[in-house]
Subunit: 340 residues, 2 copies
Amino acid sequence: MKITIKDIAEKAGVSTTTVSHILNNKGSRFSEETRQRVLKVVDELNYQPDFFAQNMIMKKSRTIGMIVPDVTDLFFSKLIEGVESYFNSLGYMIILCNSKHDPKLEEKYFQQLVYRSVEGIIIATPNILSEKILKNDDVLRRHIPLVLIDMGKNPREQGKLLVEEYQGVYSGVKYFIEMGHQKIAFIQEVGDYYQLSERITGYLNCLEDYNIDYNPQLISEGPLTMQGGYQATKQVIEQSQKDFTAIFCSNDQMAVGAYQALLEADLRVPDDVSVIGFDGLEIARYMAPALTTVYQPTFDIGFYAAKFILDAIENPKQRIPNKIFETKLLVRDSVKRLTN
Amino acid sequence: MKITIKDIAEKAGVSTTTVSHILNNKGSRFSEETRQRVLKVVDELNYQPDFFAQNMIMKKSRTIGMIVPDVTDLFFSKLIEGVESYFNSLGYMIILCNSKHDPKLEEKYFQQLVYRSVEGIIIATPNILSEKILKNDDVLRRHIPLVLIDMGKNPREQGKLLVEEYQGVYSGVKYFIEMGHQKIAFIQEVGDYYQLSERITGYLNCLEDYNIDYNPQLISEGPLTMQGGYQATKQVIEQSQKDFTAIFCSNDQMAVGAYQALLEADLRVPDDVSVIGFDGLEIARYMAPALTTVYQPTFDIGFYAAKFILDAIENPKQRIPNKIFETKLLVRDSVKRLTN
DNA sequence: TACTTTTAGTAAAACGCTTTACTAGAAAAT
DNA sequence: ATTTTCTAGTAAAGCGTTTTACTAAAAGTA
């Protein structure tokens, strides 16, 4: 069946100890002659040590678990790219779990990852996580580093990677206002409304700071998808009877849907309605007109998540840092200056 | 440290054999009393068997390796979703590798996956793979099922999942012609031109069948990305001095870039130039105007890849089937009927 | 009663590696 | 010449399971 270290040892006329030592550059020195002989046999038989046998002793799975709600979401795939890119050269591999936004599945995956002895876990989700995840016995006992990219939804002391959502939205809405807009709509993630996420707070506070009355008819919600943005925008159009000049979308994908909904309602971007998105995905640049959007460094977030995990693996005593990423308004062509 | 089966056995006053048997419902029957006692201890100590120790004996890693060139590419992320969705409930997990279109990296990942004893490998790539992958000793010896989603690029007898690219493109170009177009541009993947892929052959043959002269100035290439489509379209515009009325894009993402390039050149879609894409991604529906595109069942391809792998795992003797997926032209608003 | 069968379990091997502790013989030191 | 040190290795334990082959005691049977 599989070639084992024993086969190599036998064929090279040495002990398994010797083979192991030579392969791992450990222990006492060996004569160049035996070294070559062993290496030659290894090469001839195309021997590779058994991953499981090795791990049983060394307890280094060199595997990271990552849970995302939707791989096809451009934000999360960019994040995955960042994570993968860091682990790439280091011999770590990632087990990817697509939770489909289902908390039950997230929990199941989490447990499976723990069972598989991953050395670290990254959970990216806008959902509330259960105690079973956040205070998992195994994870605590075995010091498995956990990093959350969760928009600040879950209480946690370390390993939180956040984006300045509040400031991001605030700067976008402020930009609308500075461009002369007063009737500013806001479409956001489902379920967020009542729990007042950072994003909507940024919106509300900015309005307040500029003494603009908040109009509930200008707010609507939907999933953070193109379809979601389309529906939510349609709803805003109906609710307000087209009485708005700007719309802030909780992410770029919603903005794509918003464009469509506006077009169908005979509202032109930006002549009739100005639009701002959030994320700064590649697609934003290619929308017509190019979308003004609040950029967040998605790739970097993934990259840092990976880095923090790795640091924590190498330094188990240390706590995992938190990090807040800045946003930046990318001004493009989807916002019109209002001259009234 | 970790709780082992020995701890459980000791605390429950039985042998490890008993614990193992009870946990796996194997071997002779045990009295309900001991069963409960063992189970209780297992629960109390929150015991989980060690994945590596188990695998060492059972040799079932329940892990699948998947290599894609770019996770952020909507086609591949959809594929991943399909694969993940099939393995999801079955306790299999997938190790995801993002090769960045680098053949060297593909080979390295492949070897790592083999080393990690994955039970199956799915490679989705438009690249030529090395012999080291296609005729890998380990994979052959250990009968690791391999499925290729490679647009037919690599010679292989089994485990090939293909799409009717030729027919897809042909039907799109034919549609252009039926709508009165004669000057039809084609933008395609880099490097494909000289190796005459299925896609360009579909284009060329269709032109020929309708007695339309093929004009090399109407062909251009770029990566299968928005940026790539943008550049390639720009090039076509220059080369032909705007002398074309339609453009076929090798994928939807290129079409997004094409829209942008056309817009910048003051060419309106579809009034001045009609556009067709390939893939049928969600985004196509939200483009303005909505993109007419050749749909391919991306999710299903992933799903079947997973299914075939699993069938092959359960049935090692059997060969892995090939499968060809049909395409379908989704007519939307990006093609104008020419009346001349 | 004396044998057989069943019940309820156990001991020990095996999986394929790494690692610790040891050693025979050669070379160096006294 | 004897002891010490160095060289080039090896034997065997151990990692945490599963599994095979076995067994003592209880129950059933003739």
